[in-house]
Symmetry: C2
């Protein structure tokens, strides 16, 4: 049998400076694409073998796009045209600044420059009960699980005469009023209107409730108040029940209890309420900032180091314009990755590093068909179909890979004209931890 | 917590005759599409909520198509336009002819006419060791697991200095020279030539061996000897090692041993060697034919019953022209489904049943880019690019759903011009039963 000790990172020896990049997200790939293999050896490590286009993840969860449409294999992005680039699909277990090495599951590797671009993971704020019972929406497997869960709830609702149970199967509570929560709620509302009545002719979908719960006083808190207001109006017009200033206290898999005592029976709690930086052992815990972010200077160097950098969501770069760091979206990661590539080349040439400055291209969120909001630079806010087209254009433009652009665009056009959501397959028997009845049921279903 | 006893089939009472169809494959859907809801109540039961287009399954396993492209949600196919049609995603546990009912995981249901269209499942001929260690290719989850396995083998081969282990990771043994085996071998050979060298610049893919093993004396035994010969020549030209008259004796997950003693070290044994009918408890075991098929008369009635029918792969209909039954492909199932719909209407009208007669439209198999074989009616055999275009046309024509046709066609064109295989994502940590090292590795990878 294959043994872990038979595996090793197998990175060729080199006389060039070795840049080790942990993470193949927006920051990591933009850095690696700009680092010339003639000057550096570049090693990228990621647990997954693909780059995910997370702004479209909610589409996978709501049966609008296939998983493969929003992900691109890293080896395809960095093919033989990238000289001296080495990808390994391995988890990094620690950083060892004293020896200038990192440790992985299958051995150590020395670095000259280390870039931590690990991004974020779901944050349950220490509430293990919620972690156990809710559906996060952060990874491709999360989205596929949530898709199966939602579809299975409809199927079960169609197979019960117990009215209370049916209602709890038809209640979907989305916690977190950021872009993921808003876009998921909007997509589910469209599905309720255009797809589900055809799928389940006997079922009364006026009883299906979509709740969007946000702790602050408005949805999309990072956007302008105008856009928040417009978004909430769009959502409510689509029949989403928006609850702001509402915090979740507990969720046992059956009943969500809010601070203040209000309760909703639901089988599906989507957790889009928070993320925390995916930090690594070896960098002192004391320096970690709010949200699990590493404090970096304007050159992306982590406090206390000159050869360890953090970029993207895991980096907390405070500046005059952004005293609390940059928003946790793709653009700062992309720009920091590209900027750091230039700085590493400057380092090699003995030149001074240049400070990073974020160019805000604006932000966008989609609520539904022809309904979107956009905050553009210069305090311009847009809504409706113009923002919707802007959203479509930007997302397809930034999507990695010609094939993916084609697939997403053709799906979009198809959906626009037919109102369909084509990928409503339950392809995996998702078993929620602790849900013994479903577990037994799915096992019996799958038995051969 | 949700309890199974809270669920029930929930099928409305009816005064019309109730047709219960078990299975949403080619036979089941073609039958249901032709049964008018004005005359019958139609209930379809399937463990999955989708119809799979299995002739393209090998494409999912070899990263050519996304899973969603070859499957169509049954509820989408049978929407509100189908009057009095009821789908339930539930496993049938037995047939009870004495009471004219079936039993499911969540309750019983009476029928007037029962149609068993359950198709086949992988057959390991009682060899539990092979069942445990090999990779079948029969379901969507099988294909996704095999895709992950193959990609993980390449990744591991790239991360070891142990030459014997690397070779065993680069050996892929496909057992079964039918269409699935041939098409998988061809697709892997193309991947080796056009995709993998770019993905793994340092790896020597001349060392990757693709074995295709068949027990009989030629590949594609149901096709003409000319097509078999052409297919083997194509495969060998593409570098596939074809071993006919070779039977597998054992496979422990590391070493496959053939009858006669020859051995090959491999981490990946693809099992495409046999299927058996997915029979149900309640129909007498004694009548079951070779390959787990129910004997049916020319009206598709199972021996001994007038109200229980079997169609497609699970049915063994012997006729003068087909003394051993029909080939286990889509066409007999499609035609029997359509024919049975007519017969059920005749039954209702008090007319005599009409015997089924199979119209052979020919058979096709694809080996690679512009390489295919076709046996047409009238003993015409085709090869090369003409057969390839025929294959493409037929498969896209029969593919369910406009969206799927579009996705598959655009994938195909994209691949034809770029040689790419876009969906090489490892999206699930497949753990082979018993492979503790991989299990530990994957768990550690996935740890949060």
């Amino acid at each position: 049998m294959l043994d872990l000790k038979d595996l090793s990172l197998n990175i060729p020896e080199t006389t060039k400076p070795r840049v080790v990049i942990i993470g193949g997200g927006f920051g990591g790939i933009n850095l690696a694409q700009k680092l010339p293999g003639k000057q550096f050896q570049v090693v990228m490590l990621d647990k997954q073998n693909y780059h995910g286009f997370w702004p479209l993840l909610y589409q996978v969860a709501t049966a609008g796009l296939e998983a493969d449409a929003i992900a691109e294999p890293l080896r395809k992005m960095f093919d033989e045209d990238y000289e001296d680039f080495h990808f390994r699909p391995v988890r990094v277990t620690s950083v060892n600044p004293a020896t200038k090495t990192i440790s992985t599951l299958i051995g150590d590797l020395s670095y000259d420059y280390l870039i931590i671009a690990t991004g974020t993971k779901s944050n349950f704020f220490g509430n293990d009960q919620i972690k156990q019972n809710s559906f996060p929406l952060k990874k491709i497997t999360d989205a596929l699980n949530l898709r199966s869960q939602i579809l299975q709830c409809f199927e079960k609702a169609n197979m019960t005469t117990n009215a209370a149970l049916r209602q709890s199967l038809l209640n979907i509570v989305i916690v977190g009023g950021g872009p993921t929560g808003v876009e998921t709620a909007g997509a589910l509302a469209e599905m309720r209107k255009h797809v589900l009545p055809g799928d389940y002719p006997g079922m009364d979908f006026t009883k299906m409730n979509i709740y969007l719960v946000e702790g602050l006083d408005r949805v999309l808190p990072p956007m302008s108040p105008e856009s928040s207001k417009k978004t909430q109006a769009y959502l409510e017009k689509m029949g989403v029940i928006v609850k702001t200033k509402t915090l979740v206290e507990s969720y046992d898999g059956e009943v969500v209890t809010f601070k203040g005592g209000e309760q909703i029976q639901t089988q599906t709690l989507v957790w889009a309420a928070g993320v925390a930086g995916a930090t690594l052992p070896g960098i002192p815990q004391e320096i970690i900032q709010r949200g699990g972010r590493y404090p970096v200077n304007l050159f992306n160097q982590i406090e206390g180091y000159t050869d360890i950098f953090a970029i993207g969501d895991i980096a907390m770069m405070k500046s005059e314009k952004y005293p609390n760091g940059h928003p946790g979206v793709a653009q700062p990661a992309i720009q920091q990755g590209q900027h750091l590539a230039k700085n590493l080349k400057r380092l090699l040439a003995g030149q001074e590093l240049q400070p990073f400055s974020y160019f805000d291209k604006g932000s966008l969120a989609i609520i539904g068909r022809a309904r979107a909001v956009a905050d553009l630079p210069g305090k311009i806010t847009l809504g409706g179909i113009i923002a919707w087209f802007a959203w479509l254009f930007v997302h397809i433009y930034y999507l990695i890979g010609f094939r993916n652009k084609l697939v997403v665009l053709s799906n979009w056009l198809y959906r626009f004209f037919t109102y369909e959501r084509g990928t409503r397959l339950i392809i995996r028997p998702f078993i929620r931890k602790g849900d013994k009845a479903t577990e037994t049921f799915m096992k019996q279903q799958a038995a051969d």
